[in-house]
């Protein structure tokens, strides 16, 4: 199997987010950047499929030069090759813009593949847009927010979460699949993997090389404002013995807060 797995560099989930009001964007100074957690499930699934069926796994990131660090991590986890598609713009929150770059990269550089794997969303932009957009641009079937994946011959089946249950999606290959927590348990990098990753050269693809210029990659999401929400005020502690406090709580939620 020839698998392409797409990863994004994001601030880790411990981060406190500060906003530069002038640029209407996140202050990156002092943030620790990591591979988006959902992408790790995608990388792990790609490696497991390769171990079961043979083939090749390539990790691809669209982003700044610094995204090489997460590609190194993918190499250390065991992917065969890694490629950076260099995009000098910071987060634009325009999923279609990124999806176009990915679709072009696939068409021009990796025309023969069986599976495109993504995380179900990037932590931060939280858009859940790119996988389905890439699927549409390339005319492929999709299965998103997947917690179980089976691939056999020329097709596959995926279990995905819906409200109050699960949906089984069947599809032909090649296909787009996005990973949800629960799909697997991502492995740690090995020391040998880390050493090998250090030596590996990560090719850089520019947007010009993909034939994307000007209008193709101009963001079409205009950020009007970016704000942190007002901090919540601590309310009151209901006094008394636990049983009494519990009863008071139920009554207050009915009569005062009017939420039940």
């Amino acid at each position: 199997m020839n698998i392409l797995v797409f990863v994004k560099r994001v601030p880790d989930t411990e981060s406190r987010i500060r906003i530069n009001q002038e640029t209407r964007s996140v202050v990156e100074e002092g943030l620790n950047f990591v591979i988006s957690p959902f992408d790790e499930y995608a990388v792990e699934e790609a490696l497991r499929l390769r171990e079961a069926k043979g083939g090749q796994v390539t990790a691809i990131s669209v982003g700044p030069e610094e995204a090489t660090s997460i590609l190194k991590k993918c190499l250390a986890m065991g992917v065969d090759e890694a490629v950076l598609v260099k995009d000098s713009l910071k987060e634009t929150y325009d999923g279609l813009r990124i999806a176009k770059m990915i679709a072009k990269t696939v068409e021009k550089r990796f025309p023969s593949f069986d599976l495109l794997l993504f995380g179900k969303q990037s932590v931060g932009a939280d858009g859940s847009q790119v996988p389905a957009m890439v699927a549409e641009l390339l005319g492929l079937p999709q299965a998103n927010i997947v917690t179980k994946l089976e691939v056999e011959g020329s097709g596959g089946a995926a279990r995905r979460e819906i409200e109050g249950g699960m949906e089984k999606v069947v599809f032909s290959l090649p296909a787009v699949v996005s990973a949800q927590k629960g799909l697997n348990e991502p492995r740690y990098e090995t020391l040998r993997g880390i050493m090998a990753a250090k030596k590996k050269v990560i090719p850089v693809v520019t947007l010009e090389e993909l034939g994307l210029t000007g209008d193709d990659v101009a963001p079409r999401v205009e950020v009007v404002r970016m704000e942190t929400p007002p901090a919540r005020q601590a309310g009151r502690i209901i006094p008394g013995a636990p049983e009494e406090a519990a009863k008071d709580l139920a009554r207050l939620l009915r009569t005062e807060a009017k939420v039940i």
């Binding site: 629960g182 009151r236 502690i237 807060a257």
Partner: protein, 324 residues
């Protein structure tokens, strides 16, 4: 026109789609535009009259036997063709599992950007502005979208339904043309989960357990309470999920789900930043924790400092009386 995709499950219209329709109605009135509702499927006779009273002026029924079960490809083809024909100003979908799967596919097909999981829609200078949480609610982003139609998914349980109107409107039936072989993936089977019918993202009340629950068996306490409160669901912190006490679909927080219920009850949850991000837009927050220093109390409207195993049974009993 503002067009709203109306999702149905087992023939029933999703409440979150009607919420999106309500928001479409309010914004469309400001823009002096009509509201359309689009349903997609094979059997288009089971029409729900609620759709008119919840804000639609016109209902479009897009039918094709190939659309009997959901496929993002098939549904996107049907909606794309309708949008190209009627040229709506905006298209709204509920940010449900189906809406999140379908909307980006439709956006790419129409060649327009998408605003995901919006919690606010406004009209400013004649243009639509969409506000949505990023970083699971640590920040809020307000955007304008270039290109028409302006496509957005709206978070469930945030937008009120339209005031009920006794209206009837036009019903337009259309055959959705699906080219042979265009659908390469579709839903083959749907199974009910153990989590109940309502997902945490749709629930009006969430009762969540964390490390303080001490073990998987104690989540039964939360499930019993959820069973008493209508439209409620059981949630969990990351540590409870990672300990294997409850399925990850219940996880609230930055690597789980971001929720905005009317009431969020955090039981035995200390309140790590990733968890707070995912639930701090709840209207009312309750914290039950034995540690008075737990950060969750700083975000809670009501708090009980005490042993949850003493608090929960009494709370359940009192709720049972209130809901009797």
């Amino acid at each position: 026109m503002i067009l709203v995709f109306i999702e149905t499950r087992e023939g029933k219209v999703k409440k979150s789609s009607l919420e999106a329709l309500g928001e479409a109605k309010r914004r469309a009135s400001e823009l002096n535009q009509p509201v359309g509702a689009a349903l997609v499927g094979a059997d288009m006779d089971c029409l729900n009259p609620e759709i008119f009273s919840c804000g639609a002026d016109t209902i479009f029924l897009l039918g094709n036997p190939q659309l009997a079960s959901y496929s993002a490809q098939g549904y996107a083809i049907a909606l794309d063709a309708l949008a190209r024909e009627i040229r709506p100003r905006a298209v709204f979908l509920a940010a449900t599992a189906m809406g999140k799967d379908l909307a980006p596919r439709l956006a790419a097909r129409l060649g327009v950007p998408l605003a995901s999981d919006c919690t606010k829609v406004e009209v400013k200078d004649g243009d639509l502005e969409f506000t949505r949480p990023v970083f699971a609610g640590k920040a809020f982003l307000t955007v304008r979208l270039k290109g028409l139609p302006q496509l957005a998914t709206l978070r469930p349980n945030v937008f009120p339904l339209a005031e009920k109107m006794e209206t009837a409107g036009e019903v337009v039936k259309k055959n959705a043309a699906i080219p042979d072989g265009a659908i390469k993936g579709k839903v083959a089977e749907i199974s009910k989960g153990e989590g109940g019918d309502i997902d945490v993202t749709e629930a009006e009340v969430i009762i969540s357990g964390g490390r303080g629950m001490k073990g998987p068996e104690n989540f039964a306490l939360l499930k019993e309470i959820s069973a008493i409160i209508p439209r409620s669901a059981v949630g969990a912190s990351r540590s409870a999920v990672d300990s294997g006490w409850i399925g990850h679909q219940h996880q609230v927080g930055q690597t789980g789900k971001t929720v905005s219920p009317n009431l969020y009850i955090a039981v035995g949850i200390s309140g790590a930043i990733q968890h707070l991000a995912g639930m701090s837009s709840s209207k009312v927050i309750v914290a039950i924790n034995k540690d008075p220093e737990a950060p969750i109390f700083k975000a809670a409207d009501y708090g009980i400092v005490g042993d949850l195993f003493q608090v929960l049974p009494a709370f359940r009993e009192e709720l049972a009386k209130l809901f009797a």
